[in-house]
Amino acid sequence: MDFNNKKILPLFEINGQTVWMTQSILGTWIIMAALILFTVFVNIYMRVKKFEDVPKPRSLQNVLEVAVDSMHNLVRDNAGNDLGWLGGYFFGVFVYIVCCNYAPLLKLRPPTADIATTLPLALNTFLLIHVLGLVKRKGEYLKDYVKPMFLFLPIHLIGELARPISLALRLFGNLLGGMIMIDLLYHALPLYFRIALPVPLHIYFDIFIGALQAFIFTFLSITFISEHASVEGE
């Protein structure tokens, strides 16, 4: 049995090394196209239907407002009002990860079951933590590393470096584990049993774990950022 990321098409060459279009790149492109189309559709719909600032919005406007508002509130509650603008970024990350985790429902390989998708997302968080920390708190941020005394500097450094790795591996491992379990079940069952029996596994591993891990990724990112970048005494 082979759980590797299968190569589909050679794309281009760098220094004699072929760069392949793998299953996860195909999935990423499909999800990106779907999300971009949805955004364009919402943008046009918003202009045509004239979304208004009313107390009880209806239909699509209601759903979108609830989604966007809840993510912004999560960021404001955990990271403070001056970092509220991060809500847009984290909403994008959350929606992207949820779509990636739900890809197996359409028989695609989930792009998040590939370390090349999760590590860049975690490195984005890593950059946000330290750049925002330096910009917002300057000297105070550097003092965090020598608390409570200078000897703790290496421990703090290792802790900071472990954060993106643990964020990336958590998402990657959960999704890969779920994918392997479902694949094993599909291989074990005879053809005519594959219709109904895997449904509970899909519900648990894809729908429940997928949404939970996406939420945990965004929530932990917000918490880490607020730990370093929130100005105290707010």
Partner: protein
């Protein structure tokens, strides 16, 4: 070479022991959360969200073991 294959399969099995220990920890955490909800039923929402986040963080350790097991079985760097 067969010996190396056998040993890497054994090591993959041993690396999954971490998930057993994590299961123990998650059981303790869930038990404490159940106690907390029994004592203060009105705080159920925040207890549940803290529990879910804490369990997910604790699970990372099991995931490390799982990733090492997968590496040993499917992408073993020692056998190349």
């Amino acid at each position: 070479m067969e010996f190396a294959y056998a040993m890497s399969a054994l090591a993959a099995g041993i690396s999954v022991i971490s998930s057993g220990i994590v299961g123990l920890g998650q059981g303790i955490a869930t038990g404490k959360a159940a106690e907390a909800i029994a004592r203060q039923p009105e705080a159920k929402g925040s207890i549940m969200s803290t529990l879910v986040i804490g369990i997910a963080v604790a699970e990372t350790t099991a995931i490390y073991g799982f990733v090492i097991g997968i590496l040993l079985l499917f992408a073993n760097p020692l056998l190349k």
